[in-house]
C-alpha cells in the first residue's frame, strides 16, 4: 500500500511515483570498465518493476534517496556507501570530500572534482550545482525535499532562478568551489548535500517542466526514452567516468523501468524466477500474500531480501478535522488501534516491529518509551472510557488510503470498531491520493495511513517533515496537519545543536513532546522485503535506509 510509497518518497523518491523509479541503480556505467571498487560484472539489461505510472528525473521535484533511481542519472555533492552489516557512510560524490564546516557549522565549503562532465560533454561546475539548487526553490517545481530550503540563508523568500534572481547564500566561488551560508549551525549538512537538489543542472536545460523526463545526466546512465505509464529506458552515459565515482558501479549496460506494474503479478514472476524476470527486481515491497509464498518456497531462498527496521508506519490523525480536534479523542484512538492486526495484514513478524516512538530504531537520539500502553492489540475499554470522558458519541471517521492498502486499512477499521468508532475507507489511486492528502487542504480526510523513511540518518529527518508546521499541505508530509509553535521551536533548537549528546537528549524530549499531543499513532517500524531474480547480484540493503542500493546492483 501506500506506506511503502510514502517512505520512499521520503528518501527515495519524490513522490509515490518516484518510489518505483527510485530504485534503479547502479551499475557501472560507461563503456569503461567498472571503477576500482566495482566488484560486479558488467553488461546486460536490468529491469526494475515499478508500480508507479510515472517517474521524475528532475532533482528539484524528486525525493529519491541517494541510492535509488535518481542516483542513476544524477550525482550529488555527497553520496552514501551502504553495506549489509555496517552503518551507512557518507562519502564524497561530485565533491572531493563530504564538506568542510566553518563558523561553528554555519558555513560549509565543498570542492568539486576536476574534469567532471554532463552527458553532453559540458563541464559540471559549481555554477551548475548552484543552479540546480536554485531551481528547487521555484514554485513551478514542487514536491522535492525541503531540508536545504529551511537551512540556506534567505531561502524562505527566494522563489527560484527563472525570474533572474539568485540565492546569494549559495556561493560559487570559482569553477569548483561552493560555499553554503546557513541561517544556523547545522552539523549534518554533509548528509543534506546528498539529497536530490544538490545535483547539477545546466542553465540551458530547457523548460523546467520537461526536465523530469529529459534530464541532462551526470551519473552513469542517461534517459534514452520515457513513456509515462509504460517504460523508461536508461542507457550508459559514456561521459561518466567510473574512476571519479565511489558510489556507483554502473554494472548493467542499460536499465529499464517497467512502470504501472501490479506488484502481486511481478512478485509471482520473481518467485517463479521466470525468464523475463531473472535480470530484474521489484522496486516496491513484496505484497503480504506473496511474502508468505516466498518465505515458504525453497526456490526463492536468498532472493528475498528483508531489511532491518526502517521506516515508521503510522496512522496520522488530521488534527484540523472537526472530529479529531480534541486531544482526548486522538488519545482514545491510540488505545483503540490494533497494531497486531495491522502488522498481520502487512505480513506478520517479517514485516516489522511494533512501534511506540516517532524516531526510528538505529537513529542517534532515539529513546525507547511507550506512552499509550504496551499491548500491541490495544485497549478498547480504555479507548471507550476516554471517548466517554471527551463526550464523544458515534464517532465516524474517513480513512483515506491508496488502493493497495486495503487490508491494512481494514485492520485499522476493525481495531477502531472495537471502541465504537466507525471508519469509512476511501481508496484512491496514487495521483488522487497525492492531490487529496499531501497536497490537499486537509478537508478530505480524518485519518490516513503513511510511512516515513528518514531521508538522512538523523532525527531531524524523522520529525521535522512530519510535525513541523511549515510542512503542512503543498505536497509535504505533515499529514496530521499538526501545528504547535512550541514543537516548531523545539525542532529548530534540536537540529541546530551541534554537540551530539546534547542534540540526542533534545531529540528524545521532542519525540515524547509530540506524541503526547497524539498527532499520529505509531504502528510498526517496517522491515521491507524485496524480491529479485536469479540473475541479479550485489542486491544489498544497508542498515540505513531500508531500501536496496540501486547504484551497485550488477547482473551475474
Amino acid at each position: 500500500m501506500t506506506s511503502p510509497r510514502l517512505p520512499r518518497r521520503g528518501l527515495l523518491a519524490a513522490g509515490p511515483v518516484v518510489l518505483g523509479l527510485g530504485a534503479l541503480a547502479a551499475c557501472t556505467d560507461g563503456g569503461s570498465s567498472s571503477s576500482s571498487d566495482a566488484g560486479g560484472a558488467q553488461g546486460g539489461t536490468l529491469t526494475i518493476f515499478s508500480t508507479s505510472e510515472d517517474m521524475s528525473f528532475d532533482p528539484a521535484t524528486s525525493q529519491s534517496l541517494a541510492i535509488t533511481s535518481l542516483g542513476l542519472t544524477a550525482r550529488r555533492l555527497t553520496a552514501w556507501k551502504t553495506s549489509a552489516d555496517a552503518p551507512t557512510e557518507l562519502i564524497p560524490d561530485l565533491a572531493t570530500d563530504t564538506g568542510t564546516p566553518s563558523d561553528d557549522g554555519r558555513t560549509w565549503t565543498f570542492t568539486l572534482q576536476d574534469g567532471l562532465t554532463f552527458e553532453d560533454g559540458t563541464a559540471i561546475t559549481a555554477a551548475t550545482v548552484k543552479y540546480g539548487l536554485e531551481r528547487s526553490f521555484a514554485k513551478e517545481l514542487t514536491g522535492g525535499l525541503t531540508y536545504h530550503k529551511v537551512l540556506l540563508e534567505g531561502g524562505e523568500d527566494y522563489e527560484g532562478p527563472f525570474s533572474g534572481k539568485h540565492l546569494d547564500s549559495i556561493e560559487a566561488k570559482d569553477e569548483t568551489t561552493l560555499v553554503f551560508h546557513l541561517n544556523r549551525p547545522y552539523g549534518a549538512f554533509g548528509w543534506i548535500a546528498s539529497t536530490p537538489a544538490f545535483a547539477p543542472v545546466p542553465e540551458d536545460s530547457g523548460e523546467p517542466e520537461s526536465y523530469a523526463t529529459k534530464p541532462v545526466a551526470s551519473g552513469p546512465y542517461r534517459v534514452a526514452s520515457y513513456k509515462a505509464g509504460s517504460q523508461v529506458v536508461l542507457e550508459r552515459n559514456e561521459k561518466w567516468d567510473s574512476s571519479t565515482d565511489q558510489a556507483r558501479t554502473g554494472g548493467p549496460d542499460s536499465i529499464e523501468f517497467a512502470l504501472a506494474q501490479d506488484s502481486s503479478v511481478v512478485a509471482q514472476s520473481l518467485i517463479a524466477d521466470r525468464s523475463d524476470a531473472q535480470d530484474a527486481f521489484l522496486a516496491s515491497f513484496v505484497p503480504a500474500a506473496q511474502l508468505v509464498q516466498a518465505q515458504n518456497d525453497p526456490k526463492v531462498g536468498d532472493r528475498l531480501v528483508t531489511s532491518g527496521p526502517g521506516a515508521l508506519e503510522y496512522l496520522a490523525m488530521n488534527t484540523q478535522s472537526e472530529a479529531l480536534k480534541d486531544v482526548k479523542v486522538r488519545t482514545a484512538i491510540q488505545y483503540a488501534v490494533d497494531k497486531e492486526a495491522y502488522r498481520t495484514a502487512k505480513g506478520g513478524e517479517i514485516s516489522g516491529d511494533y512501534a511506540t516512538t516517532l524516531i526510528t530504531p538505529g537513529i542517534e537520539g532515539r529513546e525507547e518509551y511507550s506512552l499509550y500502553g504496551d499491548a500491541p492489540a490495544g485497549d478498547a475499554e480504555k479507548a471507550k472510557s476516554l471517548l466517554a470522558e471527551a463526550g464523544v458519541k458515534d464517532l465516524s471517521l474517513r480513512l483515506v488510503i491508496t488502493e493497495d492498502d486495503t487490508a491494512a486499512a481494514e485492520a485499522i477499521q476493525q481495531g477502531l470498531a472495537r471502541a465504537g468508532i466507525t471508519v469509512t475507507i476511501q481508496p484512491l489511486d496514487e495521483n488522487a491520493y497525492t492531490s487529496e492528502v499531501p497536497a490537499g487542504d486537509g478537508s478530505g480526510y480524518d485519518l490516513v495511513l503513511g510511512s516515513w523513511q528518514p531521508d538522512v540518518p538523523s532525527p531531524d529527518a524523522n520529525l521535522t517533515p512530519l510535525f513541523d508546521s511549515s510542512q503542512i499541505g503543498g505536497g509535504n508530509y505533515n499529514l496530521a496537519r499538526y501545528s504547535n509553535p512550541e514543537v516548531d521551536k523545539a525542532l529548530l533548537d534540536a537540529s541546530s545543536t551541534v554537540d551530539a549528546d546534547e542534540a540526542a537528549a533534545k531529540w528524545a524530549a521532542v519525540d515524547k513532546q509530540i506524541l503526547q499531543d497524539s498527532p499520529l499513532v505509531p504502528l510498526i517500524y517496517s522491515k521491507n522485503s524485496f524480491l529479485h531474480g536469479s540473475g541479479v547480484k550485489d542486491f544489498v540493503i544497508g542498515e540505513f535506509p531500508a531500501y536496496p542500493n540501486y547504484l551497485t546492483v550488477t547482473l551475474g
Binding site: Q290, Q293, A345, I350, Q413, Q414
Partner: protein
C-alpha cells in the same frame, strides 16, 4: 399474475389456455437436478436471512480478527486454510477472520443485490416493453432507441465510474442495486415488447378496445397476464447474471465496501493467496458458483415448465 379475480371471463380463459396447467410447474421441480438446485437456493436464502444467528452458532462473527488462528507468516495455521471445529471453513489469511461467517454474510449481499436489481430491471423492462409494444409509433421508437443505447453502454466502466462518484457514506447495496438494475432492463423490454405487439392485435384485445377499454385496462388485464410467464422465466434466468455482476464489481474493489462481507471481494482477496492458501478461494467461489448455478437451473426448469413452445423433448 392475477388473471382471475376481476378480469373478464373471456380474457382469463384466453390466457389460461395458453399456459400449461399449474401442476406441471410443480412437477418439473421434482427431478433430481432442479430439486437439488431448489435446495441450494433455499439454503442460501435461509443463510442470508439468518446470517447473524448462523455465524453465532459457529461461535464467530465476520468482523473479529483471530491472530491466534494464523501462523507466524500470517497464513492460516493448519490444513485447508485452518479448517477446525472453531472455524468451519477455516480463516481468512492475513486477518484470521472466520471464513464461514464471511461466506454466510456474503450471501446477504449477493442475494439482496441480485434479487432487488432483478426486480428493478423487471419492472422497468415490463413497463417500457408493454408501453412500446402496445402504443407503437414514436413511443416504440423511443423505447427501442433507449434499449439500444443501454445495451451498447459499457456497463462495467460506467459502474466503476459511478462507484467512484457515489459518496462513500451512502448505502452501497442501494447503489449496486440501482446500477445493476438500470442496466438490466433492455433484454426484458425487448421480449415483452415483441410479445405485446402480437397480443394487442389479438381479436379479443381489439374488441375490448373497441368497447372503450383504456390503456391501463388493456395493460393490466390483457397484456400483463399473457407476458407474465415470459417475464418470470426471464427474470429467473437473468438473476444469476446479476449476482455475478455484484460479485464482479466487488471483486474489482468498487462494489461493497469493507468490512461488509461480500463473495466478490473475498474472491478478489483470495486470488493473491491462491498458491499459499487455496481454501480461501475455494469457499467463497464455491458459494458463488453453487448459488448462480442453482438459480440458472431453476430458471431453465421454470422455462421448460411454463413455455409451451420450448418444451423438453
Amino acid at each position: 399474475m392475477m388473471t382471475t379475480s376481476d378480469a373478464l371471463p373471456a380474457e382469463a380463459a384466453a390466457s389460461l389456455d395458453e399456459r400449461p396447467a399449474r401442476r406441471w410447474v410443480g412437477r418439473a421441480f421434482l427431478r433430481p437436478l432442479p430439486l437439488a438446485a431448489a435446495v441450494v437456493v433455499l439454503v442460501s436464502v435461509l443463510a442470508a436471512l439468518f446470517a447473524p444467528q448462523l455465524a453465532a452458532f459457529s461461535g464467530n462473527d465476520p468482523f473479529t480478527y483471530h491472530a491466534d488462528a494464523l501462523g507466524p507468516d500470517t497464513a492460516p495455521a493448519g490444513a485447508l486454510g485452518g479448517v477446525s471445529g472453531d472455524h468451519w471453513f477455516g480463516v481468512e489469511p492475513g486477518t484470521g477472520r472466520d471464513l464461514f461467517s464471511l461466506v454466510v454474510y456474503g450471501a446477504r449481499v449477493s442475494l439482496l443485490v441480485g434479487l432487488a436489481s432483478t426486480l428493478l430491471a423487471t419492472v422497468i423492462g415490463v413497463v417500457l416493453g408493454i408501453v412500446a409494444g402496445a402504443v407503437g409509433g414514436v413511443v416504440e421508437k423511443l423505447v427501442d432507441f433507449a434499449t439500444d443505447v443501454t445495451l451498447g453502454f459499457p456497463f462495467l466502466i460506467f459502474a466503476i465510474a459511478l462507484s467512484a462518484l457515489f459518496p462513500l457514506e451512502a448505502p452501497r447495496a442501494l447503489l449496486l442495486t440501482l446500477v445493476i438494475g438500470m442496466f438490466g432492463w433492455p433484454s426484458i423490454a425487448r421480449v415483452v415488447a415483441a410479445e405485446t405487439r402480437v397480443i394487442v392485435r389479438q381479436p379479443y384485445v381489439v374488441a375490448s378496445r373497441v368497447m372503450g377499454a383504456r390503456f391501463g385496462h388493456v395493460f393490466r388485464h390483457q397484456v400483463l397476464p399473457n407476458v407474465a410467464s415470459t417475464v418470470i422465466v426471464f427474470s429467473c434466468i437473468s438473476l444469476p447474471g446479476r449476482i455475478a455482476a455484484e460479485a464482479t464489481l466487488s471483486f474489482l474493489g468498487v462494489g461493497m465496501l469493507p468490512p461488509t462481507p461480500s463473495w466478490g471481494r473475498s474472491i478478489g482477496d483470495a486470488i493473491n493467496w491462491l498458491l499459499v492458501d487455496p481454501a480461501f478461494l475455494l469457499f467463497p467461489a464455491a458459494a458463488l458458483f453453487l448459488v448462480t448455478f442453482s438459480f440458472t437451473i431453476l430458471g431453465d426448469t421454470l422455462r421448460d415448465a411454463l413455455d409451451p413452445r420450448g418444451g423438453r423433448p
